[in-house]
């Protein structure tokens, strides 16, 4: 049996590859594709089907299952640690998630606001003091989420370059198996040391509190690793994509500046149209399941084409249009079901503070390279932009 190779190059930054929308708009909305690993996977592309899969316990998140959809030929390299919540199924997943989710409630996040504001202001100050054009990615997009999560976990900031280099290597499709394994090992060793120090000398930070609750240091290690990786490049890429999109829409940006209440709905729409973690919702079937008239067999890999689903005309009116006031949160950019992004309210707040502060403080901010000449990340698992040169006028 043959199936066409999965395409990953987008038609434009916010339009899924044509193959994905073609599958979505067939009668069943389901087809088979061959992944870069050589696996043949069922491809789901409608919002309804992806939501159904993500709330069905007959699909597993166990990324160590040899049939879990893979984007590289080799096996994943995270198996040198215990499973983290993103790889767990019920009944293991619930208690493990509940042990940490209290750290990420809407209210807890609001408490972090003043410190995040400070971090954003400091980075904008530094950018304004530096040469023009500046690269927004290095000046703001990458350091802000990294610093925020490092502080929350209790990782010293002077180690943040170390994290950045290794987490980008992990996410790049170009990294060799060897390189990936090395990055994982180095991060693991570093975190292991840090956690041992915190176990010996308790600290009042997320990792310290996990240990104080009596959680096994090996489980705290897997969690720390996951939290550092999951929220860094993702949030960074949304910052970069969001700034470019808003700069390209001066009228809507002006409306946003006038009324900060517009920012959160705009963020939701940006999350939907870009769906940067487009394949993160993939699963493997552990029992036979029928979805959309197709029988998926136990052991079949299932690829979620979440970007196509977030542009599904059956779920969204004028699905291909960016409507910054749409405010729909029924998208799957943060996933759906029990694994829905644990850090989503942190991500929303970081994006909100960055957009509000950046456009308020630098009204003349503009791209120094036209949007269509920017280097978009078609070659990595998390969509984004490599570099965003920006410039601004002298202060009056």
């Amino acid at each position: 049996m043959t199936a066409p190779a999965l395409q990953t190059t987008r038609q434009c930054p916010y339009a899924p590859p044509e193959e994905h929308t073609r599958i979505r708009d067939t009668d069943s909305g389901i087809s088979q594709v061959t992944l870069p690993s050589g696996q043949i996977a069922w491809a789901l592309s409608r919002l309804e089907h992806i939501r159904a899969m993500l709330t069905d316990p007959r699909f597993s998140s166990d990324r160590r299952d040899p049939n879990f959809p893979r984007f590289t030929r080799e096996q994943p390299s995270f198996d040198i640690m215990r499973r983290s919540i993103i790889q767990m199924d019920p009944p293991e997943h619930g208690p493990a998630r509940k042990a940490v989710v209290g750290e990420f409630t809407v209210r807890r996040m609001a408490g972090l606001r003043p410190r995040i504001q400070e971090i954003v202001d400091e980075h904008i100050d530094a950018m304004l003091a530096g040469p023009r054009p500046a690269d927004l990615v290095q000046a703001l997009s990458l350091p802000v989420p990294s610093l925020v999560i490092c502080e929350q976990l209790g990782v010293p900031y002077h180690d943040h370059d170390f994290f950045q280099v290794r987490s980008s290597a992990l996410l790049s499709r170009a990294t060799t198996a060897e390189g990936r394994r090395q990055s994982v090992t180095e991060l693991r060793d570093y975190l292991k040391d840090l956690i041992a120090k915190k176990a010996a000398e308790p600290t009042d930070d997320l990792l310290g509190r996990q240990l104080a609750q009596g959680n096994d240091p090996e489980d705290v290690l897997s969690l720390a690793f996951l939290l550092l990786i999951a929220g860094h490049e993702t949030t960074a890429n949304m910052i970069s994509l969001g700034v470019v999109t808003l700069l390209e829409r001066p009228e809507e940006l002006a409306a946003l500046r006038e009324d900060p209440a517009r920012t959160l709905p705009a963020i939701e729409e940006l999350l939907r149209v870009y769906t940067i973690a487009e394949f993160a919702n993939s699963r493997v079937a552990v029992e036979d399941v029928e979805i959309g008239g197709v029988t998926i067999r136990a052991g079949d890999p299932v690829l979620a084409m979440s970007n196509a689903a977030n542009h599904d005309p059956l779920a969204f009116d004028d699905a291909d249009e960016i409507k910054l006031d749409r405010g729909a949160r029924n998208h799957v950019a943060f996933g759906f079901g029990i694994h829905q992004c644990l850090g989503q309210n942190l991500a929303r707040m970081e994006l909100q503070i960055v957009f509000d502060t950046l456009f308020r403080r630098i009204p003349s901010l503009r791209l120094a390279t036209p949007a269509d000449k920017l280097a978009y990340k078609d070659d990595v698992l998390i969509y984004g932009i490599h570099e965003v040169p920006v410039t601004w006028d002298d202060p009056a």
């Binding site: 989710v101 209290g102 409630t105 809407v106 209210r107 949160r329 943060f334 996933g335 829905q340």
Partner: protein, 66 residues
């Protein structure tokens, strides 16, 4: 009367309900699970927000009963 029912056992603390209607929902400080502050929507707008919350709750922990 329509009532909002939460199955705390299913809830995964994503907070989507709190974002939808902070007057009707909160999250436990301890494990992030949902706390229903107002279980009967006071007007049509509140009912609409409750319906949105039910639809977007990722763990299907919320429902409306008649």
């Amino acid at each position: 009367m329509t009532a909002i029912v939460a199955d705390v056992g299913r809830c995964v603390g994503a907070g989507q309900c709190v974002l939808t209607d902070p007057d009707a929902f909160d999250q436990s400080e301890e494990d992030g699970t949902v706390i229903v502050l107002q279980d009967s929507p006071s007007d049509n707008e509140a009912l609409k927000r409750a319906q949105v919350a039910v639809d977007i709750c990722p763990s299907r922990a919320l429902s409306l009963t008649q």
